[in-house]
Symmetry: C2
Subunit: 375 residues, 2 copies
């Protein structure tokens, strides 16, 4: 498949001897076995997935693998953010070992961000690193979590605080899998698509404002938006694989978002990751305006678009009680985008002009959150 | 401290931007704080250790850290191989997070190989990689496990099957800590010292045959032997950090050894790692002779020296019942030095002439073990 193929796109993540392809197209699940065998000839494999995804896609994936002679014994976990736990990390590692896979064999993640992050972590630590294949089935996983090698689990101290960098050998994005996604999950993933426009692709954000409905409806806009998002992420990752600097841009909206997720105990009934990011991106623009970095109009524009899509855009959009602003600040400080006790945020000079801001004064953030909640 | 310093030596592990020093000398614990602060100015820290080591060395280390303004809240675990578990990995990660350490802060391992492997693993996965300092207090840890970045835990499927490569910023070897080591642990560590001679330093093995008593007695031979061992390991690691090939040489004696450890349920009353390696090295030489790769005299020479030191040299030296040879072979096959179902062993053409042998026939190994047990 080439970049020119009208039915699909290929985005390469350029990381020297850790480079890999992201294949994006309709119906690609049927090609999974052949694409894996092409990259890892002779390898055995296992699949880790969740109950919801397994219902729709484990059978076609198994069939595709069988066609190239790969028999799998899958591990099917419960769906939901709570699956990213120490307990399931242990279950995933023990499963891979039970399958007697060796370093050159493949661990395949079939599912959304939770399954990808957990499976990638297990693949990164069993035998100190196995081969790893991502088959993301949610929009969020397709445009964000499956690309770039970040893996991990949550702990009581916060999200993704334990994990490794472990790049996959292949990311296979079958855009048809989005047809079975709930509208809410689709919207949540869309927050990450919009993020790439807001970071440094203002033209893409313009395009999204006009064309977002086609992404949801499964038109050709869908593949274009996913490929553009993957390309945007691949560029950032290639420039700073291990997050020493500019990769932090990908966290636009995430420091606020993670704090809100922690504050709702990762209860997906109340808030899912992409919704936290949506609120967080609006807050990042509003806070940037408060710090005189951009115009209040930018925040209003971002809020308007995300609201049109159906995403929450303010802390007060979250159902139920939230802890005090002091507690939210503790979650923000514990977030891993912290350096030597100073708060680091991704702030912006306008749509598509985000930057890494160190030394953000904690008291300003506290007052801003407090005022947002009382607005 | 320079290579020429009569009271100590410095060995550099050359790994590009992951290079680090191994400082080896008497009484270095008192310098720990200053050496850490020199390399990680302004960093906070925590210490992970075990109850036995804490009794002797936690107070002097704490004092040394306080002198440079570093206050620590240590985590003190139970001693023994069983500490390298998922459960303690979780405890170590949660402890580091509880201490609110950031990516640039230091996780210090104070103890033997178990503490170093577990702590290094936790340091490698919290926030996807913290700074890491090794202060090995056993001979085994000083000459082997603290150098080279391999970290991990044991699972029911075998030893060290879950872990990461995570290089320390500094290894600080205070050779005085060996004065409180039990004679048995000292001998077990010595097996790894002898290993470097057997891999590719025949002159060092000659020297050890003549000078081993001085290492045990704490003479100047001790620092020389530790520095030579670290240099030998550093050379191998620098050539193949991620064990794609020649690093496997360091596993001389380890495939047999790990299988014997598994067969005794990691019960340190029956067998500790270095004892398994001692038996394994003798078996590797005897098996090599059986395969007509070296002379039976080589195996006899190795056995004679290790026996003189007081190490076990045969499977029958292990107290209590052992499982069948079939079960031992299963442990050997599950050992991670396996590639695509073929057995990989480190074999030898003589003392100091080891090599990586792929495609070793499993049935030959089975017969050899069976005959060894009935010898």
């Amino acid at each position: 498949m080439s970049d020119e193929n009208i039915n699909g796109e290929c985005v390469t993540v350029s990381l020297g001897d850790r480079s890999y392809d992201i294949l994006i197209g309709r119906g690609l699940m049927a090609d999974a076995g052949a694409e894996i065998a092409k990259r890892l000839p002779g390898a055995k494999a296992t699949v880790i997935t969740d109950e919801t995804v397994a219902q729709n896609y484990l059978a076609p994936l198994t069939e595709s693998l069988q066609k190239v002679g790969i028999e799998i014994d899958p591990l099917v976990l419960k769906p939901g953010e709570k699956t990213k736990s120490y307990e399931n990390m242990e279950a995933a590692c023990d499963h891979i070992l039970k399958c007697k896979l060796e370093r050159g064999d493949a661990v395949i993640a079939l599912g959304g961000g939770v399954i990808g992050d957990l499976t990638g972590f297990a693949a990164g630590i069993v035998r100190r690193g196995m081969k790893f294949i991502q088959i993301p089935t949610s929009l969020l996983a397709q445009v964000d979590s499956s690309v770039g090698g970040k893996t991990g689990i949550n702990t009581s101290a916060g999200k993704n605080l334990v994990g490794v960098f472990h790049q996959p050998q292949l990311v296979l994005v079958d855009t048809d899998t989005l047809d079975t996604l709930s509208p809410r999950e689709m919207r949540a993933g869309y927050a990450e698509v919009a993020k790439y426009g807001l970071i440094d692709r203002p033209d893409f954000f313009d395009w999204l404002e006009k064309n977002w409905q086609g992404i949801f409806d499964g038109g050709p806009e869908r593949i274009h938006a996913i490929a553009t998002s993957c390309r945007a992420k691949a560029d950032v990752v290639a420039a700073d694989e291990f997050e020493h600097g500019s990769r932090a841009l990908l966290n636009l909206g995430h420091t606020f978002g993670h704090a809100l997720e922690a504050a709702t105990n990762y209860d997906s009934k109340r808030l899912v990751h992409g919704e936290g990011v949506s609120i967080g991106m609006v807050l990042a623009h509003q806070f940037s305006a408060r710090m005189n970095l951009c115009s209040p109009d930018d925040g209003a524009r971002v809020a308007k678009h995300l609201k049109a899509v159906g995403l929450p855009i303010s802390i007060n959009d979250i159902d139920g009680d939230l802890p005090s602003t002091d507690i939210l600040m503790e979650h923000i400080a514990q977030d891993k985008k912290v350096s030597r006790g100073e708060l680091t945020f991704i702030l912006t000079k306008g749509v598509g002009k985000s930057f890494v801001a160190n030394n953000v004064p904690a008291n300003e953030v506290w007052r801003f959150i407090e005022e947002s909640r009382n607005a």
